[in-house]
């Protein structure tokens, strides 16, 4: 379970995030949507303790993220390409992450095997460093790396951007499978309303740093979101 209380982030006088209270129960698949500058990445960065909140706090499984690092073993994320180590091959990167999460090579190989379709033969055994892969392929590697080590909280910032249609569809399947797991909380942000309504049970809309909508996904949700953003 993730709880944010009185969470604000200001840069100078500009408020970029202001959340009174937000609770994400364990096992939920949670979608975050909003225009550029709405505060999605800010929220994720706060959750990962990459930036400091101006006030308030976030608890991840009862651990206050900026007070203790004990949330790290069960939390994994892929925010952007800056999460990749450019001079490693994808395999080396996966093994490195595996090492950090206490998984040996065989464990990692077994996991990678499940994602063969998702990789579409473009990631493994390519004799290329991550820095030389295309944006889309870098993203694929980063997303899969975030599944290593059975994390209980998975945070993906804009996972659908830059992916080709086939991969987008496969990724939707993967996220749905993860979300079906009752121990795993998945947090996804996206600009694509269709994708996010398809994979998430709950959608929160941020606008200028504030929660303006909090919807349990239903058949009408897409319409509702389209009216919100269209009008």
């Amino acid at each position: 379970m993730i709880t944010a209380d009185n969470l604000t982030k200001k840069y100078g006088s500009q408020q970029v995030l202001n959340i009174d209270h937000l609770e994400i129960p364990k096992g939920q698949s949670f979608g975050l949507v909003g225009n550029n500058g709405a505060g999605k990445t800010t929220f994720f960065s706060l959750l990962l303790d990459l930036i400091q909140p101006t006030s308030g706090k976030i608890l991840n499984h009862d651990i206050q993220v900026n007070a203790s690092e004990d949330w790290k073993p069960f939390t994994s994320s892929f925010i952007d390409e800056s999460f990749l180590i450019g001079y490693l091959t994808p395999e080396e990167y996966f093994y490195f992450i595996g090492d950090l999460r206490g998984r040996n090579k065989a464990d990692v190989d077994a996991l990678l095997d499940e994602f063969k379709d998702f990789f579409h033969g473009e990631i493994l055994g390519q004799k290329k460093y991550l820095r030389d892969l295309s944006k889309g392929n870098q993203k694929k590697a980063g997303i899969v790396a975030s599944f290593i080590g059975n994390p209980e909280v998975v945070i993906l910032d804009e996972p659908f951007a830059n992916l080709d249609p086939t991969t987008q569809i496969r990724l939707k399947g993967i996220i749905k499978d993860l979300a079906a797991h009752e121990d795993i909380t998945v947090l996804v942000s996206s600009h694509d309303l269709i994708h996010v309504t398809e994979v998430c049970e709950r959608i929160v809309v941020l606008n200028k740093g504030e929660v303006v909508k909090d919807i349990a996904t239903s058949t009408e949700t897409l319409k509702e979101l389209e009216t919100f953003f269209g009008g």
Binding site: K72, I79, S82, F83, L84, I85, G86, Y129, D132
Partner: protein
């Protein structure tokens, strides 16, 4: 059209990241630039008198001509590493309504105005002026200068045709070694053979047409070559190395720090700038030769201490001062991953320790210059191991400047800030000062002993110190993450 290009060029120069630096760094860089130019101009002007002194019976221009073949070859050699045709910069123009021939001329012309070509101007022009003052005929000197610049341009454009082919490099190195060997062992008089040819450029003014013609010809070749290859999948494609996976299984022996050690080794080996650091560090082993061999320094023990600290600690200083900025590109990942920061630092400390030991072993032959050299180097190595490693790691937590790993290592000041200068004071200055004080009050032995004991004490407190440093990194985390995200700083 060229007016536009010129303005773009102007902007790209003055808006480049190296100009956006802090004022102190800017002043330092300007100072270095002025110093370099002044040195070139002065050598250029002075070379006449030097040559006259060395070889009083010959005209200096004749003497100089003997060596020009080596100058051409060595210039080729350096340019091979330093200079690259900046083809990537023209990508934005391809989709604009500009003729491809114009683009090609622009990029070739631009390389003609490259800094490397100006080096030669700053050297030969003063020489030419001195010649005129000494009463050499104006026309000959003028056209000789034209010839020289034409040769510079030839070298410039030949370099792009060579375009980083390894074979060409071996040919150049081979020729330099071969010519020098032939000359040195007096098998064939290379200098005497090429001397008159270069001298002819001066003696027969009309001969300037030959280098000029060659320059135009090589330019034409380049133009033809490039004009037909202005495509994204051809000459505009960035070269990609084939990745070689390695699992470095032997690092497993080091237990917990193994993953980081592997990462660091790959970091060093697979990135230009870090790789260059290793080679530079190894080269500095020879630094001692400059001083040990000179009479004046024979008994200057503080100088020995400087050499000891410097030679055993060169990698420590070069690599260590930018920790953790080497990992800046993916620092937010490191901070959100399940990473024990302590292990991360342990791995860096281990790597630097190994470098200190290796550098010490390499400096052992200096014992030839007296046992003091060896003793001081030993004490310095211990001091570097015990004291300087924690110190440099500690100061690393003040690093907030991003380093782009794949940028060229030469003249790359990325990641440099006031911190780096502050670091060097305690790292280099403190041990030399300590040694000097104890040396003057007592003796060399006591100086070495003090350095060694400080090193050993530091080594014994290593765990405590590293714990403290880890805490420091944790406290500075947000500033580092934010700083490392800023590009072009």
């Amino acid at each position: 059209m060229f007016r536009h290009f010129f303005r773009l060029q102007w902007k790209s120069f003055f808006r480049s990241s190296s100009f956006g630096k802090g004022i102190a760094l800017k002043i330092l860089m300007i100072f270095f630039a002025v110093y370099m130019l002044a040195a070139l101009v002065l050598t250029g002007a002075g070379i006449y008198f030097i040559l006259k002194k060395l070889n009083p019976d010959q005209s200096p221009i004749w003497t100089l001509s003997q060596y020009l073949i080596y100058w051409v070859l060595i210039e080729m050699f350096f340019r091979y590493f330093l200079q690259k045709l900046p083809v990537m910069d023209i990508k934005p123009f391809l989709i604009l309504p500009i003729k491809k021939s114009t683009i090609t001329h622009y990029i070739l012309g631009r390389s003609g105005a490259s800094m490397y070509n100006f080096f030669a101007i700053f050297f030969f022009l003063p020489f030419g002026v001195v010649l005129l003052f000494k009463g050499y005929p104006f026309l000959n000197v003028l056209l000789w200068l034209v010839s020289i610049f034409a040769i510079v341009l030839c070298v410039n454009y030949v370099n792009f045709i060579v375009n980083k082919s390894d074979k060409a490099l071996f040919v150049i190195i081979g020729l330099i070694l071969l010519f020098y060997g032939l000359d040195y062992f007096q098998i064939a008089p290379i200098k005497a053979f090429f001397g008159p040819i270069f001298h002819a450029l001066y003696a027969y003014p009309v001969a300037f047409l030959a280098p000029l013609g060659s320059a135009i010809f090589v330019y034409g070749l380049n133009y033809k070559f490039l004009r037909n290859r202005l495509f994204l999948d051809d000459s505009l494609k960035a070269k990609k190395q084939e990745a070689k996976s390695s699992d470095l299984a032997w690092t497993r022996r080091f237990g917990d720090i193994a993953p980081f050690l592997q990462l660091d080794l790959k970091l060093i080996w697979r990135n230009k700038r870090t790789k260059a650091q290793v080679f530079i560090s190894l080269l500095f082993v020879f630094y001692g030769l400059i001083f040990y061999t000179q009479e004046i320094y024979a008994n200057a023990m503080p100088m020995f201490a400087f050499l000891g600290i410097f030679m055993t600690g060169i990698f420590l200083a070069n690599f260590g001062q930018f920790i953790p900025a080497w990992d800046s590109a993916y620092y937010s990942m490191m901070m959100s991953q399940n990473i024990p920061l302590r292990k991360y630092l342990d791995s860096k400390a281990g790597l630097i320790s190994v470098s200190v030991v290796i550098m010490f072993l390499l400096t052992i032959p200096y014992v030839y210059f007296g046992w003091e050299a060896l003793a001081i180097n030993f004490g310095s190595a211990l001091y570097n191991l015990g004291v300087n490693i924690p110190v440099i790691l500690y100061f690393g937590s003040f690093n907030k400047k991003r380093i782009e790993l794949d940028k060229s290592p030469f003249g790359n000041m990325q990641g440099t800030s006031g911190t780096q200068f502050l670091i060097m004071l305690p790292v280099l200055g403190a041990p030399i000062l300590i040694f000097t004080i104890f040396y003057y009050i007592f003796s060399v032995e006591v100086g070495v002993a003090v350095l060694s004991i400080m090193g050993i004490v530091g080594f014994m407190l290593k765990n405590k110190l590293l714990d403290h440093i880890t805490e420091q990194y944790r406290n500075k985390k947000y500033g580092m993450i934010a700083g490392f995200k800023e590009k072009n700083s």
